[in-house]
Amino acid sequence: MTASKKTKTNKEKKRTPGKANGSIDKERARDLYRMMLLIRNFENKSAELYTQEKIRGFLHLYNGEEAVAVGTIPHLSEEDNLVGTYREHAHALTRGISAGSIMAEMYGKQEGCSRGRGGSMHLFDKKTNFYGGNAIVGGGFPLAVGLALGDVMQGKDNITCCFFGEGAVAEGEFHESMNLASLWKLPLIFICENNLYAMGTALGRSEAVTDISRKLDSYNIKADWVDGMDVLAVDKAMTEAVKYVREFRKPYFLEARTYRFRAHSMFDAELYREKKEVEEWKKKDPLVLFYKRMKKQGLLTEKDKEKIAMEVDMIVKEAVEFAEQGTWEPVEDLTRFVYSEPEEGE
């Protein structure tokens, strides 16, 4: 199956087929660039709306890390499970949750993907097996283990893909869950988004062994790392990961080395890192790098870039309009969803 044949009629599950580095075509180049730009612009708009107090609570942005979500998530089938983090707008957008329902969620409107009950950190979507949106660092590991276990016990051949930051590696649940995943031979892909800072604590100040993928040796889990600023490298690494897990039905660990350009959250004064360091990393901006490379290869043109920017602007604009026009859930419904409601007719 090739990229150009990712037709709706074909029941083959992959939305954008994982293709090795170097074999990219024009359509796929546009897809990858479009998705990364959508994430970037959607989040820049979110930050703007935050300062206008349209969005409140915590808002964690993914700027700089786009290549990780976009290089990995399209490899999953519709039936596969995804467990995200609290910095998960990109996971949700790439998984195919509509920009409008994500924006509406951040507005707190009932048209949001979690009815306004979750906000930025708790995006959920049953249709795409999107299990959040977890705001307890490391809390997603056990959940992912259980999703994989449940699928295996029912004879389903799904994969569960679990995202987390390098800060989560210090949690006890990391150790417990890596051990369980390996011991029970579960089809899991762990994707470590290593952006070098757990909030403001640099990796070297929190881990005795900073080469994260090395830790997996002790769990007998195959692990690799990849340049998380290079979407094609991530794409290639994920191709390997998916192939391994589908074939051997065992967990796989992929560390994507990346960087967060913006502050940890909207409350972060960034006292812990030098502006110069941020500027250095910005030279590796995944969008800029990818565009330059594709342009050189003749797969993207200035015209493509402009067209995609217009498309993305339209999606973001419509998302904001959708959120603005959304409605507030009646306060009388406050105590709903604490326990399940009886099905109709019961």
């Binding site: 009950r117 959920f124 649940e173 969803f337 326990y339």
Partner: protein
Amino acid sequence: MEAKVKTTSTTYRGAVRQAIRQALLDDERVFIMGEDVGMYGGCFAVTKGLIDEFGPDRVRDTPLSESSFVGAGIGAALTGMRPIVEIMTVNFSMLALDQILNTAATLLHMSGGQFNVPLVIRTTSGGGKQLAAQHSHALEGWYAHIPGIKVLSPATMEDAYGMLKPALEDPDPVFIFENSLLYNSTGELLSHPESVDIDKAKIRREGRDITIITYSISLLKSLEAAKELAKEGIEVEVIDLRTLRPLDDDTYLQSIAKTHRALIVDEGWRSGSISSEIATRIMENAFYELDWPVQRICREEVPIPYAKHLEEAALPQTKQIIEKVKEMVNAHG
């Protein structure tokens, strides 16, 4: 004339095991996992023999990773399984509290109603075996503080058997607390036992003079006290709460409307407890029914000590109940 109902004598342990076995037989989505539930047969021998009958996938031993195997239960439940997760004792549930409170109890709500978690957690609770501070907690009431989960506390044979099925049928997380001192208790169970209604408290002994509101092992102590008091002409109504969340208020409020006196016996600590909650609800709903202030017998507010005489002094005892009831029924406001 009532037809004679066939019963068999069993232990509380046997009743729980029979319920788990029946659940495994009835529904292939059900499996049990936890520390030493398989090869060892369960720390309290509750799951003994089940691994031979159902195999190591469905009677699944786990490493000592409470947080992750509880979380794994949540995940498996989300995919359509019906896991029973056994946490060896409530003391170790502290290591899984994040998964219980931040995920199991919240997922349905924060996903806007999309992801319910049909998970059953079983654990043991309570003091009285000289196991000291880290192995003697009674935290049923403390867990009942959490919206999003249900808290069951079976004290009788019928509940030890009959609460599991409705718990498994419940679409949301249910936490079952078995007091480990009850495992060896014996009693009669129907030869073909049935599920019980987990939404209702039960009057275990009728009386006119005072209402004792209690649950779990304190129920047995309260019934013992009631028997003694009856010899002196004091008729105690004993209510077994059975489910600590959601509380069935009607049963104890109706009883108080009859007896006008209420004593709460709770093995948990006093401050910020289920007993405080019930006392408050009585004040809110039945203040003018009361002939005397609501009283409580609770665990002393200390970590449980090892020495036998100190431990006994720290836990509610039958003698204390008898004395307190006498004081209350003889008092006139």
